[in-house]
């Protein structure tokens, strides 16, 4: 019952490519959406559940992506080993950043994470001997699983969908545990959480690192799927996009994050005007949701639905 939603979602994802194996929106955009979902689900643990804010999340995606790109193209690493190294790097960097930054709250935390994201971006642009500068890196080798190369859209669809479903499962599991309750307690009242024996600064650092590592894995997969990476893929704007996904879906709801990521992946695909005014429209969505639907679209709709169901029940019983 707990995993009913995930089961239905997995079934839909499994059936779609069987029905439309050649459809661009399924097998190509689908992969992008799956990556965005992993990022949003990870960020939602930190933002939605623990009630913190990060405007620099794309940096961890970028560090993961560039680690894979650089180590495979310049140093001949095996892609999996490179991914492991990227994850280890992000693990350490996010931990070191989290310690001082997460003492800050609200606007200060937003500014600090924003600054961190910009620093990483500048580094990726400037350090061109390693990163290829603004042009980025290309000809990144393909990934293969025990000699099974992931070299077609459908294979990438399968792999990214699997990783995404796992990340949703892990997120649901974390939330339904004492660690998930600790996150929400930190959100609800930090002082009460402390007096219940929760080491609130440790909880925040942990979840920051976990969501950073999820972003690093996604970055690494992304780089192999695209065979190309440039600093544009991990700019400040991408951080804002991720925050918008979480906020749009509804904070503190794993499927809210999934929903937000799905909408914001497909919307630009269908609305071509979107391309030119992307920044404007994302900002607009963010403002609109914050003002009129602070619970987010997904959570708001869910609530409306249960409300109707209840009213129906009341009508039937009375």
């Amino acid at each position: 019952m707990r995993l009913l939603g995930l089961g239905i979602f997995a079934a839909v994802i499994a059936i779609l490519p069987l029905l439309f194996p050649e459809n661009y929106y399924v097998t190509v955009v689908g992969v992008t959406m799956f990556f965005n979902v992993i990022l949003a689900v990870g960020l939602n643990l930190f933002m939605g559940y623990a009630g913190q804010i990060s405007l620099g999340h794309a940096a961890f995606f970028g560090l993961g992506a560039y680690s894979s790109a650089i180590l495979t193209t310049k140093f001949g690493f095996n892609p999996w080993l490179a991914m492991g190294a990227g994850v280890a790097l992000v693990w350490i960097v996010s931990y070191l950043v989290a310690k001082p930054i997460l003492r800050l709250k609200g606007h200060y935390l937003a500014m600090a994470t924003l600054g961190f994201g910009i620093i990483i971006h500048i580094f990726l642009v400037q350090y061109d001997t390693l990163t290829g500068g603004p042009d980025g890196l290309s000809s990144i080798p393909e990934l293969s699983i025990f000699g099974w190369p992931i070299n077609s859209d459908l294979r990438w669809y399968a792999v990214s969908a699997t990783v995404m479903l796992l990340s949703i499962l892990f997120s649901l599991n974390i939330v339904a545990s004492r660690h998930g309750r600790a996150l929400q307690a930190v959100h609800g009242s930090e002082v009460a959480a402390e007096t219940m024996g929760i080491d609130t600064s440790r909880v925040k650092v942990h979840i920051f690192v976990i969501s950073a590592v999820m972003a690093a894995v996604t970055g690494s997969l992304f780089v192999h799927e695209q065979a190309f990476i440039s600093p544009d893929s991990c700019s400040f704007f991408f951080s804002i996009e991720l925050v918008t996904m979480v906020v749009l879906g509804g904070m503190a709801s794993t499927f809210g994050a999934v929903f937000g990521a799905a909408i914001l992946t497909y919307l630009p695909e269908f609305l071509v005007v979107f391309q030119d005014f992307k920044v404007l429209i994302f900002g607009g969505i963010l403002m609109f949701i914050m003002i009129f639907l602070p619970e987010g679209l997904f959570v708001g709709l869910c609530r409306l639905f249960t409300h109707f169901k209840q009213e129906q029940k009341e009508c039937l019983t009375s």
Partner: protein, 253 residues
């Protein structure tokens, strides 16, 4: 009988205001020890010092003969001290039973990995925690609202929810900061029964309260604070007769 809590020479100043000024007292195990005093006397500050939320300028707090001064609040909590707040500190983003389950946090130790993979040991622990939380809710007479969102509860129930959450951590010492404030007469009687029941269950209670009837009725010992200083300490009947207390505090009312 041994002393559970020994406080000596506790001081805390905010700028020029000496909120707690050289307070010393001892609390016997399984008793109700009340702290009274006019508004701004330093009662809440005293609680904040005892729970590590504020650090005293000087003084010592021994709990089971362990020094608490300098420990962060979560470490104080891990030693078995729990509290409620004068201004509610409910987790409004969670359900009633989840609020209480957070209270059980110190009783669990399942790791993040065991949570991610939902290992059997973690599931066993979850069941136990849920069971304990439900028992704490039952103890406070709140079983029927366990699945409600906390933000849907009326004020009186929220005050009780804080007590249930504090109890769920199976504390040795509970600090209640004005639990009767805002309660009606029936609720206050229920509260006084609840506090007595706590002591019967082996818990020591530190109570800050403005409701004198309640304090004098259930306390074993009463400490009177005035401008951060200890004005008097003794049994309820002795306190009621103390001319200093009558003059400085009861006389004002």
């Amino acid at each position: 009988m041994s002393y559970l809590l020994e406080v000596s020479g506790l001081e805390k100043a905010y700028g020029g205001v000496k909120a707690v000024n050289g307070v010393s007292f001892r609390v016997k195990e399984q008793t109700i020890f009340s702290v009274i005093g006019p508004n701004g006397a330093g009662k809440t500050t005293l609680f904040n010092l005892l729970t590590g939320i504020e650090r005293p300028d000087s003084g010592s707090i021994l709990f089971h003969e362990d020094q608490l001064v300098g420990l962060p609040p979560f470490k104080v909590a891990l030693k078995g001290i729990s509290r409620t707040f004068q201004n509610l500190q409910i987790f409004f983003n969670m359900s009633v039973v989840e609020n209480v389950m957070v209270g059980c946090h110190r009783l669990g130790n399942a790791s993040m990995l065991s949570a991610i993979f939902r290992l059997p040991s973690m599931l066993r622990e979850e069941r136990l925690i849920r069971h304990k939380a439900l028992k704490a809710l039952e103890f406070c007479g709140m079983s029927q609202m366990r699945d409600k969102p906390a933000d849907s509860l009326p004020y009186g129930q929220l005050k009780k929810l804080e007590i249930a959450r504090a109890l769920a951590s199976e504390p040795h010492l509970v600090l209640l900061d004005e639990p009767a404030a805002g309660l009606n007469d029936t609720e206050t009687v229920e509260l006084s029964e609840l506090i007595k029941k706590l002591v019967e269950n082996g818990i020591t209670v530190l109570l800050v309260e403005h409701n004198m009837g309640l304090v004098m009725d259930i306390s074993d010992e009463v400490l009177v604070l005035n401008y951060g200083e200890l004005l008097a300490m003794g049994t309820p009947s002795a306190i009621q007769k103390d001319p200093k207390v009558v003059a400085a505090y009861l006389g004002e009312e």
